[in-house]
């Protein structure tokens, strides 16, 4: 796992947006795989990411004509056009502002007749397009990823989830402070669904995420902090702002900042899209650190 630290949440958004755009643009469509498949989250953390991608789209720097999207989750039982639904969020902040083909967007239907079937179909649909190339996600204050709240199986797949009482209380403000109006269930991709993606990028901003970030990076893999599963993912990137690093050890932050420089140097030498070809994304932190030392030695020579 790599951790990239930026000063503000806007800079985090810009960094991830440009990162994703780079991935989309360097994707070579083939007959077997004509689309780049993107997993997407909702919430306030990814907003700056969407904003920046939309801007890049307006500037003609990226097109979504050959992009397929899958969203992480959706509430059960609220109308699709409810202002708080994730359908509404995605349409308002992203889909309506880019040139994506509506047929290529996928969101779980929380009003489906058969919710179990809806979840199975969703997994099948992901498989049918060749899996997810890049899954963008956020984390909750308790370290959850998608709606995989503490205690969720780390091998879970798309399914119905009951929301934690804390999450329901937290959502109350979006539903006129009427507790009875807050959805109690959601459909969500599982931890394993995220883990299956070839690449995972997490956006983590704000002080209220600081503890969760330290637990997912410095703690062990633990089902009480479902995002910690990403420690075992071969190609995961976490981008956070300074606020979110508050609970990390100074040493941890310094270490990850140093790897970033190595990454830059590798990319400067071999080109931006080559890191996966080089197998760098599979590199363990130790390998990366060795690379870093080598590069410093080389520079001294």
């Amino acid at each position: 796992m790599r951790l990239t630290v930026r000063d503000t949440k806007e800079e985090v958004g810009n960094y991830i947006a440009e990162y994703i755009v780079k991935r989309i643009n360097s994707f070579k469509a083939s007959k077997e795989k004509p689309h780049f498949v993107l997993g997407l989250p909702t919430g306030s953390s990814p907003l700056p990411v969407y904003k920046r991608i939309v801007k890049l789209h307006e500037e003609g720097k990226v097109s979504f004509k050959n992009v397929i999207t899958f969203n992480m989750d959706e509430y059960v039982g609220i109308p699709r056009d409810h202002p708080e639904s994730y359908h509404t969020f995605m349409f308002k902040h992203f889909f309506s502002l880019i040139d994506i083909d509506p047929k290529n967007t996928h969101l779980l239907d929380g009003n489906a007749e058969d919710l179990y079937k809806e979840c199975e179909d969703y997994e099948a649909a992901i498989k049918a397009v060749g899996g997810i190339d890049l899954f963008l996600g956020g984390i909750g204050a308790d370290g959850h990823i998608a709606f995989n709240e503490p205690g969720s199986s780390l091998t879970s797949r798309t399914r119905i989830k009951t929301l934690a009482y804390e999450t329901i209380l937290d959502n109350c403000r979006f539903f006129n402070n009427d507790l009875s109006a807050v959805p109690r269930m959601a459909l969500t991709v599982g931890v394993q669904t995220v883990m299956d993606a070839r690449e995972v990028v997490l956006v983590v901003t704000g002080q209220n995420k600081a503890l969760a970030l330290s637990q997912m990076i410095e703690g062990g893999v633990n089902h009480m902090v479902t995002a910690s599963a990403l420690q075992t993912h071969p190609w995961a990137l976490v981008v956070c702002d300074e606020d979110a690093t508050n609970e990390l050890r100074v040493k941890t932050v310094k270490y990850f900042k140093s790897i970033e420089r190595v990454q830059d140097e590798v990319e400067a030498k071999y080109g931006s899209a080559t890191s996966s070809r080089l197998g760098l994304h599979k590199a363990t932190a130790a390998v990366v650190q060795q690379l870093y030392i080598i590069s410093r030695v080389q520079r001294r020579i």
């Binding site: 056009d81 349409f91 308002k92 309506s96 509506p102 047929k103 969101l107």
Partner: protein, 445 residues
């Protein structure tokens, strides 16, 4: 094939008088405002066309409930001597106005007939049933201004043609084979307008003076059968005006004009704006051309009862933004002088008619009353639609899903950039006149 049009990068004028940065979606095939989100997720239709509003305002199309004519057409003129009784020429005139008035942002109008010979009414009003011309503004119905008006407040109406609703006022010949004695004021009114015209579909707006003999007795009946009753050209004391409102009158015709000025002991018709019950304060038409009412007067009226303010042009046939200033023919034997937005027919007259386009009137209102333009727009969108009620209130005057896609794109200086009727672009300002949109740079949502 997608028929969805998306308006973006501008400000939507909302019924609360604000304008918010948001997108609007319409269907050009159904001519309705639609949910862009539903069409995206359900029908999988991306917009076929995206209109960049460039920071301008997107408003519901304007509704003019008092317009006597425009572009050389006079809605009160019917050439009965023509072979078809003048119908062909009249309808042609309506269509001409419908097609050209859209340049002023007006997408619906209620053609207004000033006091006419009694026998002309039933013919004219029948021709003024709702009518939609392709690429033209909707004709919603009729506004009959007269003949039951007060002689002291007749304005430019012919005194010889004014009537009372007293049964005795109708000359009838007992020797005529169709003779039936007229018993009540209502029968007089029905005879003048024609029963069928009072019950025809569409907007039926009648300006009358409740202080004219017999008229008050008809107000409740007219309101009950779907006629929008408006008090105007009246000398009524406040009590009389209040009674008319209690019986169902919903509007005051061009407030301040053709009525006594407000007097502090008897505020008269204007005093209705000060009614203690807000629900009993009627809507009021206001000609905001800067001439018919002083800007300060406009501000006073607006401050007193802004929820009732409806801007009308009261335009005459010379209304034509392209017409040059100078002397022009009006009616046979009558010349008028156009100067700016005013029309003068008499030598010393202050104003004999208006030819100020509706979009200019609305911009004037925003200046005179010191209100943001989006708030001023309500006076020609949401409020007239609510006042007319019925299907109009359910279909027009708001940017709401399911409502008619009658729209106007407006610069913040009030210039019309483009006009849309039933989802179709029917007017586009010549290039170069693109309105003054707000810079979007500083307004990140």
């Amino acid at each position: 094939m997608s028929d969805v049009v998306r308006f973006t990068n501008g400000y939507l004028a909302l019924p609360d008088g604000t304008a918010v940065k948001a997108d609007l979606y319409i269907s050009s095939s159904t001519g309705k405002i639609i949910s862009g989100q539903a069409s995206f997720y359900t029908s999988h239709l991306p917009p076929a066309r995206v209109i960049d509003l460039g920071g301008n305002i997107l408003s519901p199309g304007f509704i003019d409930v008092q317009i006597n004519g425009a572009f050389g057409v006079d809605f009160s003129e019917l050439d009965v001597d023509a072979g078809d009784g003048g119908e062909g020429a009249y309808v042609e005139g309506l269509e001409k106005v419908a097609k050209r008035i859209v340049a002023t942002g007006c997408t619906s109008l209620v053609p207004t007939v000033i006091t006419q010979k009694e026998e002309l009414y039933s013919k004219l009003l029948r021709l003024l049933q709702p009518r939609s011309t392709p690429q033209g503004a909707h004709m919603l119905g009729y506004h009959a201004e007269g003949p039951f008006l007060h002689p002291h407040r007749r304005g430019a109406h012919s005194s010889a043609l004014l009537m009372t609703a007293a049964p005795s006022s109708v000359p009838s010949s007992p020797t005529s084979p169709t003779f039936t004695p007229i018993q009540s004021p209502l029968e007089v009114v029905e005879r003048v307008y024609g029963k069928a015209s009072l019950d025809q579909p569409g907007v039926k707006l009648i300006t009358l003076a409740p202080d004219v003999e017999g008229v008050m007795d008809c107000v409740a009946n007219l309101s009950g059968r779907g006629v929008t009753v408006s008090i105007g050209h009246s000398d009524a004391a406040l009590e009389v005006a209040v009674e008319a409102v209690e019986k169902g009158a919903r509007m005051i015709t061009h407030l301040f004009n053709a009525m006594p000025p407000i007097h502090h002991r008897d505020p008269g018709v204007i005093g209705l704006l000060g009614h203690p019950l807000p629900s009993s304060r009627p809507y009021f038409g206001l000609i905001v051309d800067g001439l018919h009412s002083h800007p300060n007067t406009v501000r006073i009226a607006y401050s007193a009862h802004k929820d009732g303010c409806v801007v009308v042009t009261d335009a005459q046939s010379p209304l034509d933004p392209m017409l040059e200033d100078g002397l022009h023919n009006w009616r046979p034997g009558v010349m008028f002088r156009k100067k700016g937005d005013a029309v003068y027919a008499r030598q010393y007259s202050r104003a004999d008619g208006s030819c100020c386009p509706l979009n200019t009137c609305l911009h004037n209102l925003s200046t005179y009353a010191s209100i943001p333009l989006p708030e001023a727009l309500l006076a020609a969108t949401y409020r007239p639609a609510q006042m007319l009620g019925g299907p109009i209130a359910r279909r027009k005057g708001q940017l709401k899903e399911g409502f008619d896609a009658d729209l106007v794109v407006l610069g913040w200086d009030g210039t019309v950039v483009s006009t849309w009727i039933m989802g179709e672009e029917v007017y586009t300002a010549p290039s170069g006149q693109v309105g003054s949109g707000l810079s979007l740079k500083d307004t990140a949502s």
